[in-house]
Symmetry: C2
Subunit: 410 residues, 2 copies
């Protein structure tokens, strides 16, 4: 049997040029008139942090290491191929990951299932006998785009790179529930508990990773052991992760050790008061909406970046568009900050309602100043708004204005 842990020195030196875009140079970032500054870019310019041990296999050139548990993909490192390579996928952990030994024998991992007809523990080996499903989906941190909130919410200052589109494969939660006699009567939530080690001396409820989502999320949820065709790495929740397509990253519980159908939401702090959409100045409490479904969003990734200047001529502007829990319907691009819009085309196969799509639009740019923005509408008719909805912790930023940037063409 192959065991990648036994070969930690496997090298990955991609013989490529590394970047897909023709850059003509960088304009000054600071103080340039109206130039939207990418805070993350400034941060790396001042000295990049090293990848943590558990994520050493990431493409360091493609990532911004905010901290050992918050690693963002650079905007310039997004591809146009729909799928985000695993080694460029962002990482966000609310607690340190468990020891890497848990992925040495994935099939031995145990999951406790509660709130069903016949509650019991199942090994991952047994879960693999119950069904197989894969889903191509956007994985995104609720705080993606936080860097643009003017009140300076605490938390990682993500711009666009706390998101990726990946293929998760595992067993449908439905199949597991069916094998265990169905959901028990009266249950309203599906609750996953992570396998992180709770630091000694702390009240578990204040730090444990336990998230509840509405029972309806059961329809698309899977218990995943594979990411993009390889065994799920520790950095992304291996050996087993609860995957809830269309829901914000935090609901996709890593190293899931318990799946419970419950009458109430988890009592954990991360459910009760964290990840709540509360007004600026107001702390999160259960009365405010939980960060569940993702909103419609989009951003330009090529061939320009914030802070850049370019040569006049023909260009293909492209980016990614996601519809949340519905497929995308249309994406428009504006080069004049939203005064006029042109409809972009989607490229490549539609990988399902939870995937994002790459959009593209060919335009001729003469010398001058441009404000590049994109705006997406999903199949449910939700349109990406011009302005973010302000909130205390800087969640759910899908403002098309924030995601855009100025470009000087010479």
């Amino acid at each position: 049997m192959t065991d990648q842990l036994s070969n930690p020195g496997r090298r990955r030196a991609m013989m490529t040029g590394g970047s897909l875009v023709a850059l003509t140079g960088w304009s000054g970032l600071a103080g340039a008139d109206g130039v939207r500054v990418d805070p993350a870019a400034k941060k790396t310019a001042s000295g990049a942090k090293a990848l943590p041990d558990y994520a050493q296999w990431k493409d360091a050139d493609a990532m911004i290491v905010h901290s050992a548990n918050t690693i963002e993909q650079k905007r310039s490192a997004f591809g146009a191929s729909t799928i985000t390579p695993s080694d460029r996928l962002y990482v966000r952990n609310n607690l340190n990951p468990p020891d890497a030994s848990i992925v040495q024998d994935p099939d031995a991992w145990m999951l406790e299932v509660q709130g069903v007809g016949q509650p019991r523990s199942l090994s991952l080996a047994e879960l693999k006998t119950l069904g197989l499903q894969s889903v191509t989906m956007v994985l995104q941190c609720s705080g993606n785009g936080r860097a643009w909130f003017p009140h300076g919410p605490s938390g990682t200052q993500w711009t666009v790179g706390a998101a990726g589109c990946v293929v998760f494969t595992g067993v449908p939660v439905k199949a597991v529930v069916q094998a265990l006699g169905g959901v028990a009567d009266g249950m309203v939530y599906m609750t996953g508990t992570g396998g992180e080690i709770i630091p000694e001396g702390l009240d578990p409820k204040t730090v444990m990773i336990e998230r509840s989502v509405p029972l309806e999320a059961l329809d698309n949820a899977i218990l995943a052991w594979e990411l993009n065709g390889e065994a799920l790495p520790l950095a992304h929740g291996g050996p087993l992760r609860m995957v809830v397509p269309g829901y914000m990253g935090v609901n996709n519980v890593k190293y899931v050790k318990q799946l419970a159908f419950t009458k109430d939401q988890s009592p954990a702090k991360i459910q009760q008061t964290s990840y709540r959409f509360s007004p600026v100045g107001v702390k999160g409490t259960p009365e405010f909406p939980s960060l569940w479904e993702m909103p419609v969003n989009s951003w330009i990734t090529h061939p320009f970046e914030p802070g850049q200047s370019a040569k006049a001529g023909r260009v293909q502007i492209s980016g990614v568009a996601l519809g949340g829990t519905h497929e995308v319907k249309q994406t428009e691009v504006s080069v004049d900050g939203g005064k006029t819009w042109l409809q972009a085309s989607y490229i490549g196969p539609d990988m399902g309602p939870f995937a994002w799509r790459t959009f593209t639009l060919g335009v001729d740019l003469k010398p001058g100043k441009y404000q590049l923005v994109s705006r997406t509408t999903n199949a449910a008719g939700k349109v990406q708004p011009e302005h973010r909805e302000e909130n205390e912790r800087g969640y759910n930023n899908n403002s098309w204005l924030d995601h855009g940037f100025e470009l000087e063409v010479v």
Copy 2:
């Protein structure tokens, strides 16, 4: 700008268990009654070769190195997530790759276009302004499955691993042709020429990589600079590759330096006499069919492998199914060598007509001997045959019997 060449030491130590299946042990490979032996597995058992420099970034544990220019993915390393990770994608070069310096500045790569209204050279930077398209497609060597031809054709003894399903992104050839005044009158073929260095003292025609495909292939062809969301690596034809969805691997010319619309097929040996479907004992000549479109095919990848035994109980049998130039319509699985068939389900989103799909079927296996096979039908009604069509060089093996294997359940 990111330059991955400047960081050759980037490590990739995936913190995973490495394998997705629960194996219960290996039965003896040699001499077991009726057990189908995987020749590639025998070869690696006798001592694995090292990955060549240009492919050092591959996942060594997932690959079988036949030679520096023929590297196969292990059957056990296939995932169920449709997309083959780049670091597990097979490699087959007919000539040594050019120097890695060609991918250091991809945008400077030049492509000569002939047989159009206004023939000229274009840089990759210019190609990027003309359009953007991506395609999810099977890339497969014509000789995949050669190991099962009983007459022992020369060439690499591939079993199933000279194939993968990947996302290529680039400019539609149609858009390039349109920008250059359309295809010139009377042209019948689309001909790509590779940028390999021709060894001194040899007649270029005998070694050059130049392949012609029918003009109709233009409809789906792209000039690709991205593979699975990253700049196209040298090992897979970077900085620029001609990609012809639905056509055998050899037609997807790497490091493409010339694209020509021609009245005749290329005079190169690789077109005229190699890659021809000739009877056993007869050398290839232009009168025999060229290896162009891929036939319908499928094979089981999980949870068993050839030569394996297993414990009785419930299992999910899964594998990959490809339709060639048409989408797959149905895949059946038999555990009794084709006496009775059960219809498998496809999982995950359909990624288009040129992609493969993962199929799955849950069965209960009692102790005994089984012959596991799969059979796919595509949307054009083509059914995978029981027996391979014999031919001199061992091409196009899509026999469901050959791709199957015996399993002992205890």
